[in-house]
Amino acid sequence: MIFANLTADVNQKADASLAPDPAQPVGGVAPVALTGTGTAPSHHGELLQGVFEEGGRLHRGLLTLPCSVFGSRAEIRLRQDEPELTVSPGWKTKALAAAHAMLARVGLPGLGGRLTLHSTIQVGRGLGSSTSDVIATFFAVLDAARMRLSAEQLARIAVEVEIASDPLMFDRMLLFGQREGRVIEDLRRPMIPVEVLGFPFADEELDTLAFAPARYTVWEIECFRAMRGLLRRAVVYNDLVSLGRIATASAQINQRFHRVPHFSRLLEIVGESSALGIQVAHTGTIAGLLFDPADPELDRRLAAAARGLGALGITETWHYTARSDGHGRYDIAS
């Protein structure tokens, strides 16, 4: 995997940069120059996406399938005497907006300079490229300002910047309200490690935010309750079988809103390869078959599944172990 070390612990990096840089005297004669870097991982779509009740109201929410294989890295150089902040590549305007929003948040509005993003996340597949850029930029600005914010605070600012956001600022299992930038239910556990055999199910590039929010039926809304009940138990018991079933059920409901071709055949491949289930990027073009990483037969099952996908003309596949990677503040007493 090409990007395995991209998401080294952001907080460690931030800690290291807390030491004053002797080359940049703050408040001296020379103009103030601040630099910072930040990284954020991608994700691999969702294990569950729907609407969930909290505080007597329904909220759109999702459970992200993490993926540290790909990621974004942001570098920012800020100077008082620079009139304007620019971004490279120039089309990453959302990252630029994220930088402005965070500079305002940390009390440094109006600083100019340059924001540079390096990302290995393919755009338009529903892997969270946009949110990853935004979060990496947040961390870069915070690094430059020698400040920290909680993941909850970052989530609020992220949805202000990009309408809907993935919970990449967190590193644990939670139901996240992607349009409100708030945690609906904190499952308070690291991601149960699960092996993902990923594949694209469509060629076209999708604008995730161009999706009209799904209009669920009463039955679907109530079915999300059932899935949520099973999810709570699955998380406590590290129950991969249930997690796979939840992902499959969520993918099934999403068929009405964003169709995965050959879905019934894909479900057969799940059975034939003894996969735990299928998950999809609910507003993207990738999906994944889920396996138990501790299964002694894992390689054989992955190969069988890949053959099945190949017979459907899906020849591009990848696999990785989804898990919490320590990139976020993991502040739960366990």
């Binding site: 708030r182 945690v183 009463v218 109530e222 099973l230 138990r233």
Partner: protein, 351 residues
């Protein structure tokens, strides 16, 4: 801020406090879902959805035909929300239930025996309901039998069951409106595709294509076909006769100290047999109401003897090839997730 700890809080009202069942272990692989009054759930859900959709407005009259616990559920919910309530029942309605509904402000209108003149009870009740509707400027009729919000209301139960047990292999449900069985069955099967749904009906009920006839056991089975019932969810159907259901209800009380109504007893009887004959499978039975209403009948030996209903329950079902053969204390048929029409066609019957 999302809830980080589950601090216990007061219930909002009596429905909120009593709407969910208690899940109780009854054997190594057998669990009961004991409701105080299951019908609180569809009563509240149907009225809430109707309010959201604008089909019901505050203060508007609710009118429904029911002689059973759905009426009590509506009476409680309407009392709490301030809706006048008209309930149309038949002479078989039991006195304490009627008095309780009236004490909650419901107007209970009984279709007299003479008005029935041998017609289907349900149909006569619907005609009386239409009369009331024609005299009301505005009203809302929940139509529990045909309202798909009825099955949908059981999502919270599926949530509780899955959070509590995770894996369930078989769900045994008494079937009347089809709401609880089809609702729970469909939600559970969304995540447990292999779940076996076992319906409990009673001879004389037309729900599952058995011959129509008089039914002694209220709350189980139906003389009409409700839209809320999705036949294709069911793997097995059992028909339990009234004396066997009553005896099983008493046995459940004696063996498990669970004081429930006779539809619960019927479900317990089938579930206990299923768990015994399918070792290793986790079986859950639905118990829709408590036994207090039946203290003078099911729980009264003198009453049972007077009506020749006192006997030991059948130990095992008679398995038949077609519901047309349903008769006797306990009949079983492998429904195999078919539609009612498909099953009827097996014998060349009309749908």
């Amino acid at each position: 801020m999302a809830a980080m700890t589950s601090l216990r809080e007061p219930y909002d009202d009596v429905v909120d406090g009593n709407v969910l069942p208690k899940i109780i272990e009854l054997g190594p692989t057998l669990y009961g879902m004991a409701f105080q009054l299951m019908k609180l759930l569809p009563a509240r859900f149907i009225l809430r959805r109707a309010l959201e959709r604008g089909e019901l407005e505050p203060g508007v009259t609710v009118a429904e035909t029911t002689s059973g616990t759905f009426g009590l559920g509506l009476a409680i919910e309407c009392r709490l929300r301030g809706h006048p309530l008209i309930l149309v029942g038949d002479p078989a309605i039991d006195g304490p239930l009627r008095r309780r509904m009236e004490a909650l402000g419901a107007r209970v209108s009984i279709v007299s025996a003479s008005a029935l003149r041998g017609r289907d009870v349900q149909r006569a009740r619907l005609e009386r309901l239409a009369y009331f509707q024609s005299r009301l400027p505005r009203y809302f009729t929940p139509c529990q039998y045909d309202n798909l919000d009825n099955p949908a209301s059981y999502g919270v139960v599926a949530e509780l069951l899955l959070e509590t047990l995770g894996q369930v292999d078989a769900l045994v449900c008494p079937v009347g409106s089809g709401g609880s069985s089809s609702g729970m069955g469909s939600f559970l099967r969304a995540v447990l595709p292999e779940l076996r749904l076992i319906g409990v009906d009673t001879p004389g009920s037309v729900l599952f294509a058995a011959p129509a006839g008089p039914r002694l056991l209220r709350g189980l089975g139906n003389g009409l076909l409700p839209q809320a019932l999705d036949h294709r969810l069911f793997d097995e159907v059992h028909w339990i006769a009234a004396p066997d259901a009553f005896a099983a209800t008493r046995a459940m009380h004696a063996d498990q100290c669970l004081f429930m109504g006779p539809t619960s007893g019927a479900a317990y009887h089938v579930a206990a047999w299923y768990a015994w004959t399918h070792p290793g499978e986790r079986v859950v039975a639905t118990f829709p109401d408590e036994g207090h209403r039946y203290a003078g009948t099911v729980y009264n030996d003198a009453w049972l003897r007077r009506h020749s209903l006192l006997r030991e329950p059948a130990r095992a079902p008679r398995t038949v090839d077609h519901p047309a053969e349903v008769a006797g204390p306990w009949t079983r048929f492998a429904w195999n997730r078919r539609s009612r029409e498909q099953v009827l066609r097996l014998r060349g019957g009309a749908a």
